[in-house]
């Protein structure tokens, strides 16, 4: 009941896991990471597929389909992260850094902009600060003001952290 209400207010809950998670064996080996998409509602939208240079986000039979991913083809490039109007795509690179670290590539459209080297607050799906992570890089794939922030996070928090805030 509680989780249902949380989901209905825009928070993905474990009991309603509609995020498609990459297969772990591939994920742990894939340099540059794989995409995680949290788009649980059928809406008429397909720019994630249109923006994907490798065809990893498969063509939509019907525009309201939920995205389907061929993880073998995903290169973790982050173009969908910056293109998705719902900011629902995230890239997680489990091969990055030390054993217990990972790199997340998160969409960011707020000011001030983070800079590489900054320490930023990492927020969970409810906006609670759960970690302080270091910004490794900031890119702007489409030159349209939507940034992709690469931030280092603990490996066990990649399914918790979904945004950053400059502090």
């Amino acid at each position: 009941m509680m989780n249902e209400k949380l989901f209905n207010s825009g928070i993905l809950t474990e009991e309603r896991q509609k995020a498609v998670i990459p297969p772990l064996d591939l994920w742990e080996k894939k340099k540059n990471g794989l995409v995680v998409i949290e788009c649980p509602q059928q809406i008429p939208c397909n720019p994630c597929h249109d923006s994907c240079p490798t065809g990893a986000i498969m063509a939509f039979e019907n525009i309201i389909d939920i995205p389907r991913i061929d993880y073998e083809k995903c290169t973790g490039c982050g173009r969908c992260v910056a293109r998705c109007p719902g900011l629902a795509c995230f890239v997680v690179d489990l091969t990055w850094g030390e054993e217990d670290e990972a790199l997340m590539k998160l969409p960011h459209e707020m000011l001030p902009l983070p800079q590489a080297g900054d320490e930023v607050a990492c927020l969970n799906r409810m906006g609670e600060e759960v970690h302080r992570g270091k910004v490794i890089n900031v890119t702007e794939p489409w030159k349209d003001c939507t940034r992709v922030v690469h931030v280092s996070v603990p490996k066990d928090m990649v399914m918790t952290i979904r945004a950053i805030k400059v502090v």
């Binding site: 207010s9 825009g10 993905l12 998705c84 719902g86 629902a88 906006g127």
Partner: protein
Amino acid sequence: MKTTEILVVGGGPAGLSAAIEAASLGCDVTLMDSDLKLGGQLIKQTHKFFGSREEFAGTRGFEIGNLLFDEVEKYKKEGKLEIFSNTTVTGYYKEDGIVSYTIGEETYDLIKPRRIVMATGAQEKRIAFRNNDLPGVYGAGAVQTLMNVYGVAPGEKVLMIGAGNIGLIVSYQLMQAGVKVAGVVEAMPRIGGYWVHAAKIRRLGVPVYLQHTITEALGDKVIEGAVIQEIDNTFNLVGEPIKVDCDTICMAIGLTPTCELLWSAGCEMKFVPQLCGYVARRDAMMRTSHPDIWVAGDAAGIEEASAAMVEGRIAGLAAAASLKPEGCQMLKDKSAEYLKRLENLRAGETGAKIRCGLEQVCCECWG
């Protein structure tokens, strides 16, 4: 008296699209808009649009507006399209089909069009609560105009009423403008807008109060806070009142079609809750029961800008083809594609309400 082949009333996404299509068939088109700048709600939309490539999905709304302006400019240069901004259409006289309008507050004049596309958009609804006439209680459209057209922050801390797409998106835009959002209040047990729009503001820490309503704005001369309270499934107040710290209240309750001119013209109207008010009955090409009048966009039922643009294109094309027999083939070819695009935009659970509403007002053809 001034005459025109096609008069388009309203220069938002639907009206601009209608004018462009009508001009493309070689008609002389006149477009009137009450605002100083064309574009309607499009010019305030800083978020990226949904849909497919044909609807410029992934492009920000105001940039889609710029693409339409480029097309408009082309037909203006060719002398096919005349634009009147700051011009309010004030009446339609069905005895002789004459339209009255005012330019600014000084000039009053008449025009006789052969065909009209009504793309008058919508008006915001408001709800009643104590002190809702205090300065600082805004509609979401006004907040967007201040913020995204004139670059003025409406306040420092905003309480948003309504978690439809407008409430969710404007909350996000406020945060981008550096304004705090104290929370989003929604009477229903779930957000009404796209789930991903809610997720965006949730992960930045904005609370969403489902099954809550605003009961009072606090303050004497300015807003010093608001009181919200939980409601049950039959909208009765339950629980304790909660005081929220804010200096601005933004209402995104919903919209209702602007349809006075359609009533004046004697178009067959019907109240359709799913389309948010009275709307004109129309055929698939957006022609109303009045043979010279077409309708498009929010004036035809509340939807979003992508659908409004496609409807505008259909209405503009169909109105033009009724004057240019050589345009009928073009109408046939293009409208099939446009109708397919509308069907896609209205597919799935999020389009169910619209589909149900349209079933009640669409007829095959007017015989």
